[in-house]
């Protein structure tokens, strides 16, 4: 990863400008070439430094719903349950966390009712109770990791 990659990652965490020729605009900003920026971005996606490039939708503004939920999975079953959640499209993210509640995931559903039915599905599939912690108030959202 060189200086240009770092500039590109930092800049693109803020988003592609919504202007008629976005890559040209970005290239001008970064003193580079549009084609080169796209190649670099593709390489960063390919090597896993970035997990995705695209619109970040707020499903709640589109009548959908998110929740944060957790499971306390017995260690011998951890991989199996991780695979079960992996297969569900409603599971947007899933992290192992070092705690008795050791599996933490975000559900993203197209309707608020989808959250409840997905949780029931996970409970019946795994036989484990789900700790459902929907947000009640947002104080801040704004992940930015400078590199």
């Amino acid at each position: 990863m060189d200086e240009l990659d770092r500039h590109l990652i930092n800049r693109l965490q803020h988003g592609l400008p919504l202007v008629p020729r976005p890559w040209e605009a970005l290239a001008e900003e970064l003193d580079s070439q549009p084609e080169l920026l796209r190649q670099r971005l593709q390489a960063l996606l390919d090597d896993g430094s970035l997990t995705r490039f695209g619109p970040m939708f707020d499903i709640e503004r589109l009548d959908g719903a998110f929740t944060l939920a957790a499971l306390s999975v017995p260690e011998p079953r951890f991989e199996q349950v991780a695979a079960q959640l992996q297969a569900l499209t409603e599971v947007a993210h899933n992290y192992r966390r070092e705690h008795a509640w050791n599996m933490w995931f975000v559900l993203a559903c197209e309707t608020p009712g989808g959250i409840a039915s997905t949780i029931r599905h996970i409970e019946s599939m795994t036989g484990l109770p789900v700790l459902n912690l929907p947000k009640e108030e947002t104080y801040h959202v704004g992940l930015h990791l400078p590199v």
Binding site: L8, G15, P20, D47, G54, M56, F57, R96, E110
Partner: protein, 211 residues
């Protein structure tokens, strides 16, 4: 759907999500590509994106970093049992700290006493421990207990996916698990440290707020 988005936008928006949820293709003119897929003009496609962004339905068209691969190997979900009466004052204060990426109030449950969540990211365990300590100071005696749940492994990171996505696009991000190369998947240092905690702590257990 908010009032700013007219009904025809709703149909286009759903189609837009299906087309781009796995990623926006890295083509010279992405708006022209979208326009072609949606059957509208390039100017209309850009205007749609601008309206959705103004409305908050699209936060931005952005690169999502893999924290671990970018050196942020330590992330902690700090959780706090804060006096309900003081949440309106303290929630925004914690959310405003530059090292906090996400901050929410969430419900208490049986076996879960923490109502304030603040996510912190760092390049070292010391860094996130210091962040936690700073939050502790800010909360003072309004906080009765806290904990920090460090993540040791990404199991899945795809972001939003609609149920009936017709035609996910990207070659690289449709599969749910290109998450981490094996060396990054397990952060043994963190697991070692936090594993001890996990062995000792049940979800019900309380950690004192002030040391």
């Amino acid at each position: 759907m908010s009032a700013c988005i007219c009904p025809s936008d709703a149909t286009l928006t759903r189609r837009l999500i299906e087309l781009t949820q796995a990623g926006l293709p890295l083509v010279a003119d992405p708006w022209a590509w979208l326009a072609e897929q949606l059957g509208i003009s390039s100017a209309q496609a850009l205007a749609l994106l601008q309206r959705l962004q103004a409305d908050g339905a699209i936060r931005r068209i952005a690169a999502v970093p893999n924290h671990y691969r970018l050196g942020y190997r330590h992330n902690g979900m700090t959780v706090w049992d804060v006096d309900d009466e003081r949440m309106a004052e303290l929630g925004p204060l914690i959310g405003a700290q530059p090292f906090v990426s996400h901050c929410y109030r969430r419900p208490r449950r049986d076996g879960w006493r923490y109502n304030l969540f603040a996510m912190v990211h760092g390049r070292s365990a010391e860094e996130i421990d210091a962040d936690r300590q700073r939050i502790r100071q800010l909360l003072g005696n309004a906080c009765r207990a806290d904990d920090m749940l460090v993540s040791s492994r990404i199991l899945k990171k795809t972001g939003l996916r609609l149920q009936k996505a017709e035609n996910p696009l990207s070659r690289h991000t449709t599969e749910p698990a290109p998450l981490d190369s094996p060396p990054a998947r397990r952060m043994t240092g963190v697991v070692g440290k936090a594993g001890a905690e996990a062995g000792a702590a049940s979800p019900q257990e309380k950690a004192p707020c002030s040391e």
